[in-house]
């Protein structure tokens, strides 16, 4: 998206230098793998990808990136609607804002962070800061809304390795 915008706006500013940092030294280092019978020693090859060309260091490009969000009409408005039937496949789509901010436990609970947990901490009391640092559950209506905004993929059971939330996916001692 930023690249497309940069292309659109580069017409307004002077054309940027064509060969932006054309030097891209190819640094590939393959460590030779030793033959492994009986002890299969580590086969971790250190193949470093070619160094990314440092294209973002020219002063014009920096100004471009800072000015872009301020020009009205050039920053595209986000689309916040939920797609019930997609154009290509006819499927329901997830709202990505929800998956960026919330986590669904398999027991149908959603957890989130408190708003403002990293803002203006200097003026907040330690007790308030501690309350803001906690992870909190969402209410039933909020949970129902989030369930509607996500597809079934986000409701599946996951068995990650070293998952800190593994034990919270099941309710224990719940009496109805």
């Amino acid at each position: 998206m930023a690249a497309a915008l940069a292309r659109r706006v580069s017409g307004l500013l002077r054309p940027l230098s064509v060969s932006l940092c054309s030097k891209a030294p190819q640094l590939c280092k393959l460590s030779s793998l030793t033959r492994l019978p009986p002890v299969y020693s580590s086969a971790a090859a250190a193949v470093r990808a070619p160094l990314r060309a440092a294209a973002c260091l020219t002063p014009r490009y920096n100004i471009l990136q800072r000015v872009l969000p301020l020009i009205p009409g050039l920053t595209p408005q986000p689309s916040r609607s939920l797609t019930y039937f997609s154009v290509k496949k006819g499927k329901r789509k997830t709202v990505k804002s929800v998956t960026d901010r919330f986590m669904r436990l398999h027991c149908d609970l959603w957890i989130r962070r408190k708003a403002g947990y990293k803002k203006k901490l200097w003026k907040k009391s330690p007790a308030r800061k501690k309350r803001l640092r906690e992870h909190v559950f969402c209410s039933k209506t909020q949970g129902k809304l989030l369930d509607k905004m996500t597809t079934a993929f986000w409701k599946r059971r996951n068995w990650f390795v070293n998952d800190p939330y593994l034990k919270y996916h099941d309710r224990v001692n719940l009496k109805l």
Partner: protein
């Protein structure tokens, strides 16, 4: 003297004489199907058709889900946090409890006299692995460790210490191996793979982050030193307080010591071979370069 009574009577003769039953001849019992009242067809002409009274509800112009009249909606007011960050790059392992494994062995779905592989578990429908959902195999879980009593040679992808202890206590052997996603797909469904007609590929070695796990003798990794594994077996027996049975004196020692090669996917089949299902033949490569490629460990 009584006439032999014809069973069925009129119904049977009717069935024999009437034409063939088709959809055109069938009709439900009267009163069985009650048509439901459609929207807009109820009392007083349906009136508002279940849409309520005036406003956006009746007129169908309600805003999108989550909109709160212009106030920053709840799902945007909350700050972002990396709960689900990189979730599609995190490996997952389907759990298999020792209780379930014992259940499968007792019912005869899994044969303990042969090495137990992921293929055997999937054939027995003991676990369902989905490689497309970032599953990298099966992990053994400690539930049922106290009732577990079977001597097996099992190969899984992850196992905890308690599980290793439970299996070795009964005189079994456990190994943790790595299958890359393509090999995993092949191991789970071998027959569809053979029907494809492609040569069996080499199993890839684990990535940088998983190599320490599989090199560790504590986890019985397949890349670990066999002597260190033996020492780890003794140490674990001391830790959990059981006498380590000597498998070399076992009658099934040959079966228990069967292990796959690092690059092998199936027992008895090498990478590079083509299994032809319709002809029931195995085709092996003869070209030098192919043989060199398939037999190399690099």
């Amino acid at each position: 003297m009584s006439f032999p009574k014809k069973t069925g009577g009129k119904a049977l003769s009717a069935l024999q004489n009437l034409p063939r039953i088709t959809l055109a001849n069938l009709r439900p019992e009267p009163g069985a199907k009650k048509p439901k009242t459609l929207r807009g067809r109820g009392q007083h002409g349906g009136n508002r058709s279940g849409r309520g009274h005036k406003g956006e509800r009746q007129r169908g112009t309600r805003p999108r889900l989550g909109f709160e009249g212009g106030q920053t909606p709840f799902y945007l007011a909350i700050p972002k946090y990396g709960y689900n960050e990189g979730h599609s790059r995190r490996p997952q392992y389907q759990p298999l409890s020792l209780k379930r494994l014992q259940y499968l062995i007792d019912l005869g779905r899994v044969d303990p006299t042969q090495p137990i592989d992921l293929t055997q578990l999937v054939n027995a429908r003991g676990v369902t692995v989905q490689p497309l959902k970032r599953d990298y195999g099966v992990q053994l879980v400690e539930e049922g460790a106290d009732i577990f009593a079977a001597k097996i040679n099992i190969e899984v992808q992850r196992a905890s210490e308690g599980v290793i202890a439970a299996i070795e206590k009964n005189g079994g052997v456990i190994t943790t191996t790595f299958y890359d996603p393509i090999s995993l797909g092949i191991v789970i469904k071998p027959v569809p793979f053979f029907l494809r007609g492609q040569p069996i590929p080499k199993r890839m070695l684990p990535g940088e982050h998983m190599v320490p796990y599989y090199r560790d003798a504590e986890n019985r990794g397949y890349l670990a030193d066999p002597e260190k594994i033996q020492q780890a077996r003794l140490a674990l027996a001391q830790k959990y307080g059981y006498i380590l049975p000597d498998i070399s004196k076992d009658e099934l020692y040959h079966m228990l010591s069967m292990r796959k090669d690092v690059r092998q996917i199936f027992f008895g089949l090498s990478p590079g071979w083509v299994v032809s299902m319709p002809e029931k033949k195995i085709l092996k490569p003869t070209d030098e370069k192919l043989l060199k490629y398939y037999s190399s460990y690099v």
